[in-house]
């Protein structure tokens, strides 16, 4: 009898083995506001998950809990099978494996573009400086800002800064990349240059969680769309299905507001 139940458990656990990021029953409050309500979400290795939803729905907060820039009140988050440590060296080690790209770029203002991309390698990964330099240069070339390497962030356009930020995160060889509204602070003509870099990353098989308002990107690059509203995951579906035939009224309402004008 017990043998049977063990087999069953093993089968249940089988799909979880390929899940890189697992949030289960996550709750968070900002004062009286219940921003994350019983969130369950699994992200498989190599999967691109796009999180969309109206402002204040908790999608940015969700993204930031995955590397614990936001703490959670209850529930568990595991990355690559390990539960998020609460603080200290263990947490730092985990963060090094989780790349993050911010809405406001957050490049280190007192360091050059090249130094920005080298810093994590030198100080966290302890790579020797020749190797770090080479890698930084090739990453900057890859995102198309190789010629700006010696400039300071303030001398670059928003689109260029965001691509440097992506290169900075990639330099750590992350297991998963988190994008927190990466194009929301950009002028319209610069959005595409950033999205192209992200598309390319998605094609190369990077595991990505992308919070965005770019529906075009969600359609073309996502494996799955997660729709959030009022702190809950309202709907999860393949992009094709979500955009053409949303099930929930909340999603229908949201889509009608953003797609037809």
């Amino acid at each position: 009898m017990s043998g049977v139940s063990v087999t069953k458990d093993a089968q249940d656990a089988a799909p979880a083995a390929d899940d890189l990021v697992v949030l289960s029953n996550v709750n968070k409050h900002f004062g009286a506001l219940h921003v994350l309500q019983d969130i369950d979400l699994s992200i498989a290795r190599g999967e691109v998950v796009v999180v969309i939803g109206p402002s204040g729905s908790g999608k940015s907060t969700l993204c930031r809990t995955i590397n614990r820039l936001e703490t959670i009140d209850s529930g568990t988050i595991t990355v690559d099978g390990k539960e998020l440590p609460s603080e200290g060296r263990e947490l730092a080690r985990l963060r090094a494996d989780v790349g993050m790209v911010f809405q406001s770029f957050n490049l280190f203002a007192h360091k050059t573009v090249l130094q920005n991309v080298m810093l994590g390698q030198l100080k966290v990964r302890k790579t020797d400086s020749a190797a770090a330099l080479e890698k930084a240069k090739s990453l900057l070339d890859r995102v198309g800002v190789g010629s700006q390497a010696d400039k300071y962030p303030a001398q670059l356009s928003g689109g260029q800064q965001q691509r440097v930020a992506i290169a900075r995160a990639l330099a750590m060889d992350p297991k998963v990349m988190l994008f927190d509204e990466p194009t929301s602070a950009l002028d319209p003509e610069m959005i595409n240059e950033v999205l192209e870099v992200m598309q390319q990353l998605a094609r190369e098989g990077m595991t990505m969680v992308v919070v965005t308002h770019e529906m075009g990107f969600a359609r073309s690059a996502a494996n799955r769309v997660v729709f959030m509203a009022d702190g809950k995951i309202v709907e999860e579906a393949a992009p094709e299905q979500f955009f053409s035939n949303p099930r929930s009224d909340r999603a229908k309402d949201f889509l009608s507001k953003i797609l037809h004008h």
Partner: protein, 224 residues
Amino acid sequence: MFDFLDSGQYDVLGAFWVTVQLTLYSAVGSLIWGLMLAGMRVSPVPLMRAFGTSYVNIVRNTPLTLLVLGCSLGLDQTLGISLAGGTSKEIGFRLAILGLIAYTGTFVCEALRSGINTVPVGQAEAARALGLSFFQVLTLIVLPQAFRAVIAPLANVLIALTKNTTVAATIGVAEAALLMKEMLENESDALFAVFAGFAFGFVLLTLPTGLLLGWVAKRVAVKR
């Protein structure tokens, strides 16, 4: 008018040299101590924050004369802590520096802390997201930017420190103010000349400090 200077009785340059030494040693010491205090005040450890906050609030509100006298009377003459001994002159010099560092460090700390507040929170978040430790975030990302923002206020602190070294006269350190007192007693007919001379000497020390650091502040400002 300045005939008494020719007598060789007064070593004005030597006295000002002591002032300069007091200033330099105290400046370096307060910078280090102020940095440590600022680190404590922003640290995630409640005990360190509590220590930093209470130290700063107690010491910066205590008169400097009291601190320097306390170092001399309390530490040296009562407890016998003379910081490596030596002649009473050397002990006085070192204890004056200790008092000045204890005091000036609090102002350096508060200047730095206001500088830390000018660094956008995203800078530290990005650094944490890369996997840097608290200490690395502070020393590699936050403090270098905070420093550049507070060079002008730190120049103020340094100018105040230069003039505060005169308090060392109360424990007999042979710096400019002590010599001035002696000259005022002996050369009372040249009272205003002596005053003006020493005032000019201090302006000569502090004016370039302000100008130089003002220039540096502009040069190294972080562009956002």
